[in-house]
C-alpha cells in the first residue's frame, strides 16, 4: 500500500486501541506500538508490536486491514532500562522480553568512521585493518586460543587472508592499505584461516592474526566489553562498529539462511546457516565493514561476524547485511573472545 493508505490504517488501529495516541501506548492491559512500516520501493505497511494480550486484537485487525503489508510481532513486556550494556537484563525464556529504549547510537568521535580509518593505538574493535595485499576491512574482536597467552585479532578470511591467497605469516596492517597503511603499520601476522570452499557450502568467512608482542589492545566496544556469545534470533536488535559506516544499528530479519550466494574474487561461493541484518537507520554496513563483530546491545553478547552485503532489499532498499553465526566462527578457528 502507499503511504496515505498506511496512515489511514494506522489511524484506524489507534482507534481500535481506544486512544488517540500516535506512538507508544501504555495501558493497563499491556504494551502496544502502532506505526507505519517502510518496506522500500514506495511500499508501506503497518508495524504492530504488542505484548500478546489486548494488543493481539489490534494486530489481528491490522492483518484484516493491511493483509501482507501488516508486520505484527509479539514482543512481550517492554521496559525502560537504566544502565544498559553487558550487565543489562537478558531475555528470560522468551516469556518476558526486555527492550532497551535508548535512542539509536550516535557516532561520537571514538566510533566515527573517519576515526576508525586512521592509525590508532592501542588497537580496538572497529578499526581499519587488512592483510597487506587487501584494501581494508574491519577489526572485529580480540581472541585467544586455549593454552596460548598471545592475543589474536579476528576478522574475515577475505580481510586477513585475502580469500585464502595470503601466505600464513604474512603481515597484517592497521590501518589497511586503502587507508594508508604500510609496512610500518604492521600489527601482526596471519595465523590461521577457515578455508573458503568452492565446491561445497561454507559456514564461515573468518581468520585470525597473532599480534606482535608490543601491540597494546583495548577490547572495549560502545557497549563495553563483549565476552559472551548468543544465537542471533529473528527480530533481535543488533549493533556493529565498522571501518566504513562506524557505529550502526539494525535488526535480524532472517535466520538459518542457506544457499547464500556471495561473490568473491575466485567466483561465487555459497554459505549455509547465515544471519541477515537490515539497518534501522539506513544501511547497516558497506564495503570495508567486513569483519565487524555484530552484537546485541541489550546483553552485550556477540551474535555474528559481518562478511557480505547485498545491493538491494531491506527497509528503504538500502541493502541487506549477512553475518556468520559467531559461535560457528569461534569454533572453526578454535578461539574464544578475550575476557
Amino acid at each position: 500500500m502507499d503511504i496515505q493508505a498506511a496512515r489511514e490504517v494506522k489511524r484506524e488501529l489507534v482507534r481500535t486501541a481506544g486512544t488517540q495516541a500516535t506512538e507508544a501506548l501504555e495501558a493497563p492491559s499491556g504494551a502496544l506500538v502502532v506505526g507505519v512500516r517502510v518496506y522500500g520501493g514506495g511500499r508501506f505497511g503497518l508495524a504492530v508490536r504488542h505484548d500478546g494480550t489486548a494488543g493481539a486484537a489490534v494486530g489481528a485487525r491490522a492483518v484484516e486491514l493491511a493483509g501482507e503489508d501488516a508486520d505484527v510481532v509479539d514482543i512481550g513486556v517492554v521496559r525502560a532500562l537504566v544502565g544498559e550494556g553487558p550487565t543489562a537484563p537478558r531475555l528470560v525464556g522468551g516469556a518476558e522480553r526486555v527492550i532497551p529504549l535508548r535512542p539509536a547510537p550516535q557516532a561520537d568521535g571514538r566510533w566515527a568512521a573517519e576515526t576508525l580509518r586512521r592509525r590508532e593505538r592501542p588497537l580496538r574493535p572497529g578499526l581499519s585493518i587488512a592483510q597487506e595485499a587487501v584494501t581494508a576491512g574491519t577489526l572485529g574482536a580480540f581472541v585467544r586460543r586455549e593454552g596460548d597467552p598471545r592475543t589474536y585479532v579476528l576478522s574475515d578470511n577475505h580481510v586477513l587472508a585475502d580469500s585464502d591467497r595470503a601466505a600464513i605469516g604474512s603481515g597484517v596492517l592497521q590501518p589497511g592499505p586503502a587507508d594508508g597503511g604500510t609496512a610500518q603499520d604492521a600489527v601482526g601476522r596471519l595465523t590461521a584461516a577457515a578455508p573458503l570452499q568452492v565446491a561445497t557450502p561454507n559456514a564461515v568467512d573468518a581468520a585470525v592474526a597473532v599480534l606482535a608482542d608490543d601491540v597494546e589492545v583495548d577490547a572495549t566496544y560502545p557497549v563495553g566489553a563483549i565476552t559472551a556469545t548468543a544465537l542471533a534470533d529473528d527480530q533481535l536488535v543488533v549493533e556493529k562498529v565498522g571501518r566504513t559506516t562506524g557505529l550502526t544499528r539494525g535488526v535480524v530479519t532472517a535466520v538459518e539462511l542457506d544457499g547464500v550466494a556471495v561473490g568473491y574474487p575466485a567466483g561465487v561461493l555459497t554459505f549455509d546457516d547465515q544471519v541477515e541484518v537490515s539497518g534501522t537507520d539506513g544501511a547497516f554496513s558497506a564495503g570495508g565493514d567486513s569483519g565487524s563483530l555484530v552484537y546485541d546491545p541489550a546483553t552485550g553478547a556477540a551474535v555474528g561476524l559481518l562478511f557480505a552485503g547485498s545491493e538491494r532489499g531491506g527497509p528503504e532498499g538500502s541493502g541487506l547485511t549477512f553475518c556468520n553465526p559467531v559461535d560457528a566462527v569461534l569454533s572453526a578457528l578454535g578461539v574464544r573472545l578475550l575476557t
Binding site: 584494501t135 577475505h158 586503502a178 544457499g259 547464500v260
Partner: protein, 87 residues
C-alpha cells in the same frame, strides 16, 4: 515481497525451518536464487527466498508443507572489503 495465500497457516519456527531446508535443497545451484531462510511474518514464520531480480526468478510455490513462501529481490551479494581505495 510477493504475497503468500491469505489462508496460509500460522507456521511455527520449527515448521518454517524444516520447510526452508526442503526448499533450499530444491533450489540449490539455481543462480537466480541467493539464499533461502526463515523470517518472521504475521506473528508467525515463513520461508523467504532471496532472488537476484524480480524479473528473472524461478517459479516458487506459495507454501511448502503449510509454511508460506515469501520472495524478495536483493540483487547480488558480495563479500565486502573496500574495492577501489578509500571510500
Amino acid at each position: 515481497m510477493t504475497a503468500a495465500p491469505e489462508d496460509a497457516g500460522r507456521a511455527s519456527r520449527e515448521a518454517a525451518s524444516a520447510a526452508k531446508s526442503r526448499l533450499a535443497g530444491v533450489l540449490a545451484g539455481d543462480g537466480r536464487v541467493n539464499g533461502v531462510g526463515v523470517v518472521r511474518w504475521r506473528s508467525a514464520y515463513a520461508v523467504r527466498v532471496s532472488v537476484v531480480t524480480e524479473e528473472d526468478r524461478p517459479d516458487l510455490p506459495a507454501e511448502v508443507d503449510g509454511v508460506p513462501v515469501r520472495v524478495e529481490a536483493v540483487g547480488e551479494i558480495t563479500a565486502g572489503p573496500v574495492r577501489d581505495g578509500p571510500s
